[in-house]
Amino acid sequence: MKRKPLSTGAEWTFELIAAYDKELARLAKDFKLDTYPNQLEVITAEQMMDSYASVGMPIGYNHWSFGKHFVGVEQRYQRGQMGLAYELVINSNPCIAYLMEENTMAMQALVIAHACYGHNSFFKNNYLFKMWTSADAIIDYLVFAKNYVAECEERYGIDEVENVLDACHALMNYGVDRYKHPTPLSIQEEKIRQQNRAMYLQTQVNELWRTIPVGKTSPSEQEKNRYPSEPQENILYFIEKNAPLLEPWQREIVRIVRKIAQYFYPQGQTKVMNEGWACFWHYTLLHALYDEKLVTDEFMLEVLQNHTNVIMQPPYNSTQFNGINPYTLGYHMMQDIKRMSEYPTEEDKQWFPHLIKNHWLENLDYAMRNFKDESFIAQYLSPHLIRELKLFHLIDDDQEPELLVHAIHDERGYQTIREKLAMQYNLGHIDLDIQVHSVDLKGDRSLTLHYTQQNRVPLGSSTNDVLKHLHSLWKFPVILKTTDTNGQITAEYQYPPPPANQDQSEK
């Protein structure tokens, strides 16, 4: 069947975009992709930079750090030091994707395939997104947050609000529940809850700090009554509920930052899968278009050139090397699953018996729905791909004079490399394990955090600055103790710093 291509030449029009979208939607349906409705927005480069600066939130509260990012991006873009991403997609319902007006028709089609069908179906079906984010409510919540912050600025002054936000941003990574399931957001409930909460929380906190003497208790009993009774991983949550001197509006701002951090948390955990999935589908969908002769050779060449750039992985010793490219790893793993389902080798049959009998679409769909980066790699990284990417495992132990190449892409190394690479994507492992340990209820009300070291890795130089921020929320002394795996305390940070005479006596 001979068909006329949808377009020739680089120019795009709204009619053409609609035509491409129609064809891509049809193909996506054939491939059984399940998506939210799409909302395509054409924007200028400057608007793209705006979106960049607000980390992809279509509506954000105002804060200087966003201005700083914007200025930085703008500067680099104007000097040609960086190109802008071709697309930006927001996990919302309808799924909002941005098309930049500078792009050619081929690029627009690539973006539509990548974002509107790739990312979109991932957002809708991956278990983490389903469990942790609510695409229906996020835009409303962001509007609520923006208005609330603006209102606070009016009432309490920009500086006051900025201080709270600065502190919250410093602790943003510790504002997520890693294991507990959050309740879905709903804007009406949120508003009512916010009002009740403000009053209720204040009474709660007061109760905690009541000064009426309770009578003498023995030290051992005090130890038993440690507060919180179990360590808390969500530091911002703990602050929101327990910080003694915060005003209700400050608690609400802590909560806003926490909620937004929680919304983005799954994106960090599925970077490889999400991008891999989207790349796989733009590749597959556009090739399907090409097979039907709906696009020209030039169109396909342009797409492939961009595709190749995106999934390029410079080797470890290249000047361009900047870690493993999640696009490369994800895309190749997706393709690998398809390959193993269709043309398995003996080795594949041995390693992945469960893939063999099913259709590749089912295998991919299952993988997309039920994994995050860590488990996805642990489950699906094949020896074939390890050889292809020539992965190797390196150990840098500061107690050894030299680095050790522990495993390479050979029979003995596959398992190790798979495990270690999976671990590299375990956010629980990347984000340092810092938890709220205790509060000195009877004494100076100091807050103690514990950092549990893995492999003797110490804390970085900015630790004191972060503690300063934490102190601005807690308003009583803050202590951070580093403990090794045996529970021995190896380092201690404190804000405000302990008085000088103590230092001297230690010396």
Binding site: F14, I17, A18, D21, A25, P37, Q39, E41, V42, T44, E46, Q47, M49, A53, N62, H63, W64, F66, K68, F70, V71, G72, E74, Q75, I158, E162, H169, A170, Q313, P315, Y316, S318, I324, L389, K390, L391, F392, L394, I395, D396, D397, D398, E402, L403, L404, V405, I408, K420, M423, Q424, I434, Y451, Q454, N455, R456, V457, P458, S462, D465, V466
Partner: protein
């Protein structure tokens, strides 16, 4: 179903507020950079944006992160030479940094945060130092103004601009021209009717003719009535066009005492003083010439760089500069073709016997030619003879301004008259 939205027409600049917040937060650093920039700039290109750089450490947003040390395991791609069990010597810090690209040429690994301040932002920060009134700030920062002038009438416009008189005249004309043929016919028919009515005896034929004529007359009358009193095509609107406000040429003389007693801080104050006058002039004149005259015992016309950066020693004879000023005006800037402004900065030193001569020179020859003479004396303590002489002139000429200056904040009052006249 996919929805398409064209957002390109929407206001961009979503980040403007965030940008302002950023500038607000780092105001001190930015202001310092602005100050430095002014020192380096020539007077004529003060009116531009500026690249500002802030140490990265000040703008960082701290988070908990790993320090170096401990046992770190990584999986890397692109193995070309290693087999398992290989030991590799640890790359030095320098090599490691090199691996991250050019980002850290400086060695420290942390680059300054650099960004561009727009012209408005730059001037805003600059003016803040000088404590200018808002109205004046606005006046200086504005882009050359456009003046709205009448330019006849047009056929299109907004209702507020309707020119009633012209519209009515148009309507009258149209009514006349459209009604005339009918009116002529009407006249004829009426005349015919009269003759018919006058005819005796009344035949049936005649009666029919009368009826027909009456009918025709009625038809014509209706037609004339139907011509609208006023129609959209009659409407005329006042037309206004915006033209740049008249601008002519001006010359600004900067006169500075460069004797030994004028040190760098004093020169810096003087520079700001000159800049302010220059900025004022750029807003009001299309073409501005700058003439720099420096003097000690003798005066010389010099380039801007020499003016601010070279130092000489010796006594001071102010009249030498005034003489040169007069000469240059005579030769190159006839007062009827140029608006002449003079800004003089000095520490007040003058050879005592010279002051009366200055008085004569200014009163007799120079002041009648000038638009404005601004004098600052950068000397907190006692005044010398020059000050007293100038005070005499100040009393006589309203366009002679003088001020004793201690810090940059005191500069503005010198120009108060000047700006008052323009902004009033």
């Amino acid at each position: 179903m996919t929805q398409f939205i064209d957002r390109r027409q929407n206001m961009g600049k979503k980040s403007t507020v965030n940008r302002q917040r950023f500038i607000r937060r780092y105001k001190n650093q930015i202001k310092r950079a602005v100050s430095d920039a002014i020192g380096k700039r020539s007077i004529t290109d003060i009116d531009k944006g500026e690249r500002i750089s802030i140490p990265a450490k000040d703008t960082s947003e701290p988070q908990f992160h790993q320090g170096s040390g401990g046992k770190i395991e990584r999986v890397l791609p692109g193995n070309d030479v290693f087999v398992s069990g290989d030991h590799i010597s640890r790359p030095s810090q320098k090599e490691m940094a090199g691996g991250d690209g050019e980002a850290s040429n400086a060695g420290s690994g942390e680059d300054d945060f650099v960004f561009q301040l727009s012209r408005e932002e730059f001037l805003e920060l600059y003016f803040e130092d000088l404590e200018l009134p808002d109205l004046v700030k606005k006046e200086l920062a504005r882009i050359p103004t456009l003046r709205t002038v009448r330019a006849g009438v047009t056929t299109t416009g907004v209702p507020t601009n309707i020119n009633v008189l012209r519209s009515m005249r148009q309507a009258t004309g149209r009514r006349i021209s459209l009604a005339t043929p009918h009116k002529r016919q009407l006249k004829e028919q009426e005349a015919a009717l009269l003759t018919c009515l006058a005819k005796e005896p009344k035949t049936k034929e005649n009666n029919d003719a009368i009826l027909a004529l009456q009918e025709e007359i009625l038809r014509l009358k209706k037609k004339i009535e139907k011509i609208p009193f006023i129609d959209t095509i009659d409407l005329r609107y006042n037309n206004r066009v915006r033209i740049p406000s008249p601008s002519t040429q001006a010359v600004m003389f900067c006169i500075m005492d460069v004797s030994g007693s004028m040190d760098e801080p004093k020169k810096d104050i003087a520079k700001r003083f000159f800049i302010l006058l220059y900025l004022f002039l750029t807003k009001n004149y299309a073409k501005i010439d700058l003439v720099f005259i420096r003097h000690h015992t003798s005066a010389k016309e010099v380039s801007e760089t020499d003016f601010f950066y070279s130092r000489e020693t010796g006594g001071t004879v102010v009249s030498s500069a005034l003489e040169l000023l007069y000469q240059i005006i005579e030769q190159r800037y006839p007062a009827d073709a140029w608006n002449i402004y003079v800004a003089q900065a000095s520490d007040g030193d003058n050879w005592n016997a010279d002051s009366p001569y200055c008085l004569d020179l200014l009163q007799e020859k120079i002041m009648p030619l000038l638009q404005y003479f601004a004098y600052i004396e950068i000397m907190p303590r006692h005044h010398q003879s020059l000050w007293e002489v100038y005070q005499l002139i100040h009393q006589k000429y309203p366009n002679f301004a003088m001020e004793n200056i201690d810090t940059v904040v005191d500069i503005y009052p010198v120009f108060r008259e000047l700006f008052k006249r323009k902004t009033a």
